[in-house]
């Protein structure tokens, strides 16, 4: 009965301060929602991936080589622990699409003639698998077909090793091997218009590449993934004489790694934000309940005098916090679940899944609700402790008048004398409520830091792309040859119409080893004084590649633990040269996408026993000539792929623009709610505490505007301090975030544009203004008559 009375009071009290309670709930709601949405989306995505992997038997290892007999499959299957192996013919090709000038790049993968369950199977979405015994039918990757207006029944012309083939599309499909469809690690964003997969009957592939009974790619699955390394090295030994290029474990497979890495990035970001929101909720609860206990002191004294236990009184305030936190969490669950579904579908735009799994994860819900409740409890504890410590007899007497005291700043008499009375009052008031002022400052600081975290995400990606295209890929057209060529090929390219300048590149796979640490990566041969591939060192200076030394990108240098001046051992992973060689690391360069190493092109050629070799030509074109050139290149044999840089750049920008705007909106919303919740709450509390003071000013003839300016300027002062601290704090947080995101394929550079600082300041100013406008309403409701009558 009595307990019921306290509960009733709790509810009434909560309704009375609904604005503040709502602000706290909103903070908890967003924290819960951001965590749940991210975690659930993450889990659903992994589940979708794993279900897909299982249904279509995604391989555990991938070995690509020059050429080996198809019968090696049986030898490989004999390795203990191997479950199944499939031999394939894989080759990059060009496809000529009617109505499109430029040739599109495509990867051909051979499949068994009959549609049966095999490793890395193809899921046919429309049309059908190719008919048995027919060699000119193919299954095309669905996204590529959609972006190029191709349908089952259409014909396409595929150029393989310089020969053209007319093929009919029998169906559209997708495969677990290409959930994330990129050609290599350097193309880190899928471009469905420009790159696709084509699955062809084995007999066609054998015929087209003149490889009857041979394979150049083996994929396999194992019984125990823990023994993968051991199995892989056995397989490599077995295939050694067939010229193994690379052998890759599932964890290093490009599509797999991208899917996993990209989830990690956002996961880290959102977990950080969720945590900050929880901290803010605890702080706001602390301030609000602190004020409540203060106001309730007479009643607390009364309840104590009646014989209520300390626990009952503490529990009242804790319950207050828990009710706000848990109702925020429950609403957050709904929002979070809804957001997670949106997010999964957003991902599906980037990833190729046949079906998306959406499940509810009670453990995630429970975890974040409990975490939120713990933070709320933490916030409530200080207030509860103060309530418990209230002495009943003292509490029933009116409180002693508040003390005014001098602040530190007043020691500087000159400075102090410059201030008007409003400023003096603000300074003294901040000094009077130092804890609350600190919360205000911290709230703005966190809010600014979160904003910057969001902006940094955009700046970093933009910077990365700009760096890629303004320094590393300055060419207009990139032509990949099927084999290494000599200088003649470069001259041939340079003579083509519209080519202003042509530069060679030699890309070759190597193993780089430093003691026990090693990695397989491409070494890129770059000419001296290269104009198209400009490398930048860690101090932002352009560097020229000369001599015989090696230049490493930062991620490789870190992964191998080497510094400038160290010597590493390199070994070609392709061709006839197999001996190892020691080279000195000359420089370390900035690079965030892909993991490349660089060397002067002649030096690299010599390692391969050639005076000069190249397999890529970079072309700078005269204005408006690119299309004609590309059309012409379609008919030149021995070209494996043609890339238009501008096209890649534009495609990337368009693709990223949407997701960036969405991201920025969400982050701004989060940050806005934080700033609003803190400023609104502390100002309301300050208003409540000082209503007598402010009402007397109103009676004396101060206008409403003058009074609100008093509160407003205090907020502005605190917000400014918060901003001044928040900008470096945000910078620091961005640096930590960059470190926390540990990805193999790409790294986020730390990069903040000046405009991001500016936007942060502008948005924070806007949030503070909004919170102040919300308080303004309360000032006009100040009851002058009532306030003056009673004693505090």
């Amino acid at each position: 009965m009595v307990r019921g009375a306290l509960n009733k009071r709790l509810i009434r009290h909560m309704i009375h301060i609904w604005g503040q309670a709502l602000a706290i709930m909103a903070v908890v709601l967003l924290g819960t929602a951001s965590y749940i949405s991210m975690s659930s989306a993450h889990k659903n995505l992994l589940l979708s991936r794993d279900v897909y992997y299982q249904q279509y038997d995604f391989a555990d290892f991938f070995i690509s080589l020059e050429r080996a007999p198809a019968s090696m499959v049986y030898r490989l299957e004999d390795i203990p622990g191997v479950r199944a192996v499939r031999g394939r013919i894989v080759k990059d090709a060009l496809v000529d699409i009617p109505g499109v000038d430029e040739p599109r790049n495509i990867r051909m993968i051979s499949m068994p003639e009959r549609n049966r369950a095999v490793l890395n199977g193809v899921h046919v979405l429309s049309g059908r698998y190719f008919d048995e015994g027919v060699t000119d039918q193919v299954v095309l990757s669905q996204d590529f077909a959609l972006h190029n207006n191709l349908q089952p029944g259409d014909r396409i012309n595929v150029t393989l090793d310089g020969r053209q083939h007319s093929l009919r599309i029998s169906g559209l499909g997708m495969s677990p091997e290409y959930i994330y469809v990129v050609r290599n690690a350097q193309d880190f964003i899928p471009s469905p218009e420009r790159f696709g997969i084509i699955w062809v009957p084995e007999t066609f592939a054998e015929m087209a590449l003149d490889m009857p009974g041979s394979r150049n790619d083996f994929v396999g699955s194992v019984e125990e993934p823990e023994r993968l390394d051991e199995i892989l090295s056995q397989a490599e030994r077995l295939l050694d004489s067939y010229g193994v290029f690379v052998s890759v474990k599932r964890e290093d497979q490009i599509s797999h790694r991208f899917v996993t890495d990209q989830i990690k990035t956002r996961d880290a970001l959102f977990t950080m934000i969720a945590l900050l929101l929880m901290v803010v909720s605890a702080a706001v609860i602390m301030v609000l309940l602190g004020r409540m206990v203060h106001q309730d002191r007479t009643e607390i004294g009364l309840l104590k005098a009646f014989g209520y236990s300390n626990f009952a009184i503490a529990w009242y305030y804790i319950k207050f916090a828990l009710v706000m936190s848990i109702s925020g969490s429950v609403l957050g669950m709904l929002l979070g679940h809804w957001l997670s579904i949106q997010m999964v579908y957003l991902y599906v735009d980037f990833y190729q899944f046949p079906e998306v799994q959406v499940q509810i994860y009670p453990d995630v819900f429970l975890f974040i609700t409990i975490t939120a409740a713990l933070f709320a409890l933490l916030g409530a504890l200080a207030a509860a402790r103060r309530a418990v410590k209230t002495h009943p007899a003292e509490a029933m007497r009116p409180e002693a008048p508040r003390h005014g005291h001098r602040t530190l700043i007043e020691r500087w008499h000159f400075l102090w004398s410059l201030l008007g009375f409003t400023e003096k009052m603000i300074v003294r008031n901040v000094g009077r409520n130092r804890l609350r002022a600190a919360f205000c400052v911290a709230g703005v600081m966190i809010s600014a830091a979160i904003l910057m975290l969001g902006f940094h995400q955009m700046d970093s990606i933009t910077y990365m792309i700009d760096l890629q295209f303004s320094e590393l890929q300055r060419e207009d057209v990139r032509v990949h040859f099927t084999h290494e060529r000599n200088r003649g090929a470069l001259l041939e390219m340079a003579r083509l119409d519209g080519v202003r300048h042509a530069e060679p590149l030699l890309q070759y796979p190597f193993e780089i080893r430093n003691g026990w640490r090693h990695m397989d990566t491409g070494i890129i041969g770059v000419p001296e004084n290269a104009q198209m591939t400009r490398l930048i060192d860690i101090e932002d200076r352009h560097i020229n590649i000369t001599g015989n030394g090696l230049v490493l990108s930062t991620p490789i240098a870190e992964k191998l633990g080497v510094h400038v001046g160290d010597v590493v051992r390199i070994k070609p992973l392709m061709g006839k040269i197999t001996h190892e060689r020691d080279v000195r690391v000359d420089k370390v360069v900035q690079q965030y996408i892909g993991t490349s190493a660089y060397m002067e092109i002649s030096a690299l050629s010599r390692i391969l026993n050639e005076p000069f070799a190249m397999n890529v030509a970079l072309l700078k074109m005269d204005e408006g000539t690119t299309h004609d050139l590309v059309k012409y290149l379609k008919d030149i044999p021995l070209i494996a792929a043609v890339e238009l840089t501008a096209e890649s750049y534009d495609a990337l920008k368009v693709l990223l623009a949407d997701s960036m705007i969405g991201m920025a909106t969400i982050i701004s919303l989060f940050s806005g709610i934080i700033a609003f919740a803190i400023i609104y709450n502390t100002t309301i509390i300050s208003l409540m505490e000082r209503q007598r003071e402010l009402a007397s000013l109103r009676v004396m003839g101060f206008t409403r505007e003058e009074i609100s300016r008093l509160l407003y300027q205090e907020n502005v002062l605190l917000s400014c301090i918060g901003l001044v601290l928040g900008l470096p704090a945000g910078r620091w947080l961005c640096q930590r975030a960059v470190e926390a995101i540990d990805m193999d394929i790409m790294r986020m550079p730390f990069h903040l544009e000046t405009s991001s600082y500016l936007y942060t300041v502008v948005l924070i100013a806007l949030f503070v203004l909004l919170a102040n406008l919300a308080v303004l309403r309360r000032i006009s409701r100040l009851d002058l008559v009532a306030v003056l009558k009673q004693r505090e």
């Binding site: 005291h405 009052m425 109103r698 008559v785 003056l788």
Partner: protein, 219 residues
């Protein structure tokens, strides 16, 4: 349950002379505070009119009322209502900032004999001292009317007398109209005129033929 309407004042007609010392006397709940609030422009009558120097206050907007209070009225409250984190002098200065031709703060503090405590914060002052600072603050704006709501209500006898004496001095020296609201009948003896208020109406208006100095009051 909806709002309950309580009629605080009914059929009140009153004229206050410029420069007079007026005491409004009544028990709590009699309506005297409402009367003063209406005179001070922090409350408006539901019916009827209030004139100040020929202007109808009852027709004033919120903004006009604020200006009226700012330019013409000085308030002294029962609980002083000084700003706790401003010193005595700063409290007075604050009032000087919102009017065109204020009295210097320090002069006002001298008038209420608080000059030597000007750097003290309200919490370091006694009740009577706080009230004298509050009077100085009200006066600094050079108001035509000084409205005092139970100015001695929270003070002991000696201090109360001191404060009333200050009010009397102010009335004499500045010529400001002083209206004191109180339930303490003794105070009435120092006024030019006394208004007796009860049950929301004026019961009696008495003119004091002979005024008694504040120091000689007994209660």
């Amino acid at each position: 349950m909806g709002e309950v309407t309580v009629t605080a004042l009914r059929d009140v007609s009153l004229e206050v002379e410029s420069g007079e010392f007026l005491v409004i006397l009544g028990q709590s709940g009699s309506g005297k505070s409402t009367l003063m609030n209406i005179m001070g422009g922090i409350d408006t009558p539901t019916t009827g009119q209030v004139f100040f120097q020929g202007n109808d206050l009852s027709a004033f907007s919120e903004g006009q009322l604020t200006r009226y209070r700012r330019e013409h009225i000085g308030f002294v409250f029962q609980f002083y209502n000084l700003i706790p984190n401003l010193t005595a002098e700063e409290n007075v200065e604050m009032a000087t900032e919102i009017v065109a031709e204020p009295y210097p703060a320090i002069e006002m503090l001298r008038l209420v004999q608080m000059e030597d405590r000007k750097d003290h914060f309200p919490s370091q002052l006694s009740g009577g001292e706080q009230q004298r600072v509050a009077i100085a603050r009200a006066l600094a704006k050079r108001p035509e009317v000084l409205l005092c709501d139970e100015p001695t209500g929270a003070l002991d006898l000696t201090t109360g007398k001191l404060v009333l004496d200050v009010l009397n001095e102010v009335n004499k020296k500045t010529g400001a109209t002083v209206v004191v609201i109180t339930h303490n009948a003794t105070i009435a003896d120092m006024a030019h005129r006394v208004i007796y208020v009860a049950d929301g109406g004026i019961r009696e208006i008495r003119e004091n033929a002979k005024r008694i100095g504040a120091v000689d009051l007994e209660w």
